[in-house]
Symmetry: C2
Subunit: 353 residues, 2 copies
DNA sequence: TTGTACGCGTTATCAA
DNA sequence: TTGATAACGCGTACAA
């Protein structure tokens, strides 16, 4: 930050008071048209940029929103951030982007700096390793507005925007059941994360509704990544062959990619030997050796809704805390073996055009 | 921004002056150990977060860096942002993220707000539609530090970190020439963008070095997106068959994907009828029907280097303006027909594990 | 070791 | 319509 042109500089060169200059530049009513024009002109000539820092100190608002993501390269988040940006830009806010790298300590430190920087509110998706949410409780108690998105924390006084995870997991499992699969496994996510819990719940609900026998050896924690999915699937395949699942519901697409690798490596076929479905519609899902049936999440919409809700909270103290749901949709491809989707590479690779 | 705990609050509850409290919290030398401890404790009890806004106003530094990206969902940018985040976090900075959506007007407005917010420096990748760079010239003249990354603007007093685009385009073209391709086309990017110009230059240089006949009908502007590549390739295929290119160098992977679609739609084979190479190693490149030969850019490294250079500029006025290059590497797959890369789906889809 | 006065650049308030 | 003064929360410089 270098010495820059101030209101006083403009005031001095025009023999006016700072207040008149301030009023002129902010289009306040009580200022002569002629002087206003003069002020605006010299401001431009001098290369004046209003000092937002000083202004923030006075008005006790920064028009800044803190955004916390666990891992910016997960395809979900750039889309969500784009939705957030779109909304806040229109409303005259900027975002300070922080990422926790899935590390709870780093998350705490980042939220602390956001509080220090006096952001007007925070949009957050919690880190995998955060199981306490202490820092969020603290800043919420201070009166800072927080809206969670995607990975939520409930009952701490913050609104939340998420996918209808439970319902979607239920539906994709039901889809498998409807197509005569009986023995179905689940590669689950980290137990502490809301979306992982929701998806597991939906999976179990579907089993229950259709009275599928429940075998807890078929529910294995895989985490959110490819290697976790690969390892978890290999564990399943270490079971006696008669106990193998006939279909697998993975907690997300990367985990499903790992599982796919494990299955194909064993020389098994998808879906003929084992059907497989994912969750998230990763950009690579349709390009896999066996195009992956999955659930498409509308990340952009999640980001938009979260930003809108946060700004509503900021601008209206009485805005009610609530959990919003952005609906997802089933994307049926080959890996579930339930339809006539062509396993023709040409088609499968380019149906997105 | 809500009323919050201040230095004065702490001072009052302890019957100390603000200065003692300030010193205690900032670990300054001249303060009694006992009082320091008391201060730190009550600060925690009262939930004190230092007001960074007020501090910034005094010290004329915000420890904030503005980041301008043209389109956050382009796979390059999340990687680059991650690299930036990694560096600035360690150095105690935060980033304000803005995106232009490739729109020059929005870019200007965003850079203006960054200047108003008194960021200590700006990392920018310019919008496609920006051909003047006026706003950058202006803020640089004001003394604001700017480092461009990926899409650069030269000779306006800013450092730049980019891929060795020209050299890489030269090499990938040379690679085709070495494998006996003679008639080679180029799907170029927007003329105004530095990386597009560099890649075209490298392409032409290779033709020249190897004395390939130059046919300007074989250089078509495709832009950076799939549909542009699709349309441009179709235009090439409208030429008399004898004039068709035997190989195509696309300005980036999305353009190559579009071209691939156009070629396959015509019932032609890749690489047997037309070889094709891209640029950027998009996450989808290896999953294409014909795995795409391309150039891998190290976006994370670009982000890191740019952030490091910017911070060097900020912390040392005499840091010299220079153009840094992050080396890219050729990734040989099937689409160029130059190697023994197996067109086996299983292998090709999972060689990244 | 601790405290006081002042200034950072702006807006709100009240007076002219 | 314009101006003077105080205030936002903190750090610097100097005094006690």
């Amino acid at each position: 930050m270098v010495k820059r042109v101030t209101l006083k500089n403009i005031a001095d060169t025009l023999n006016l008071s700072m207040m008149t200059v301030s009023r002129a530049l902010n289009n306040k009513p009580n200022v002569d048209e002629e002087t206003k024009e003069k002020v605006v002109r010299t401001a431009r000539e001098l290369g004046y940029f209003p000092n937002q820092i000083a202004k923030s100190l006075v008005i006790a608002k920064t028009h800044t929103i803190g955004v916390m993501v666990p891992e910016i390269t997960h395809s979900f988040f750039p889309e969500a951030i784009k939705g957030i940006e779109e909304v806040v830009y229109k409303e005259g806010y900027n975002i300070i982007l922080t990422h926790s790298a899935e590390d709870a300590k780093r998350e705490i430190s980042a939220i602390e700096t956001l509080a220090s920087r006096r952001v007007d509110g925070i949009l957050a998706s919690v880190a995998e390793s955060d199981t306490e949410y202490k820092i969020y409780k603290q800043v919420i108690n201070m009166g800072l507005h927080v809206v969670f998105f995607d990975r939520c924390v409930y009952n701490i006084g913050a609104s939340c925007v998420s996918i209808n995870d439970e319902e979607s997991a239920f539906k994709i499992t039901e889809h498998l059941i409807n197509h005569k699969y009986k023995r179905i496994a689940h590669l689950s996510g980290p137990k502490s994360i809301s979306i992982a819990k929701e998806r597991l719940k939906g999976f179990l609900k579907a089993l229950k509704k259709y009275k599928i026998v429940y075998d807890n050896r078929l529910i294995i924690e895989a985490g959110f990544h490819e290697t976790g999915g690969y390892n978890a699937m290999n564990k399943l395949l270490e079971l006696p062959k008669k106990d193998w699942p006939r279909a697998v519901v993975a907690v997300n697409d990367p985990a499903a990619f790992g599982a796919m690798k494990a299955i194909l490596e064993k020389g098994l076929r998808i879906p003929e030997d084992i059907a497989l479905v994912g969750f998230s519609d990763d950009i690579r899902a349709e390009l896999m050796p066996i195009p992956l049936t999955t659930v498409k999440q509308h990340a952009y919409e999640v980001g938009k809704a979260a930003a809108q809700k946060l700004i509503a909270h900021i601008q209206n103290k009485k805005e009610s805390v609530e959990n919003l749901i952005v609906k997802s949709e089933l994307v049926i491809r080959n890996s579930c073996g339930c339809n006539d989707y062509k396993n023709n590479l040409y088609e499968s690779s380019f149906n997105k055009f």
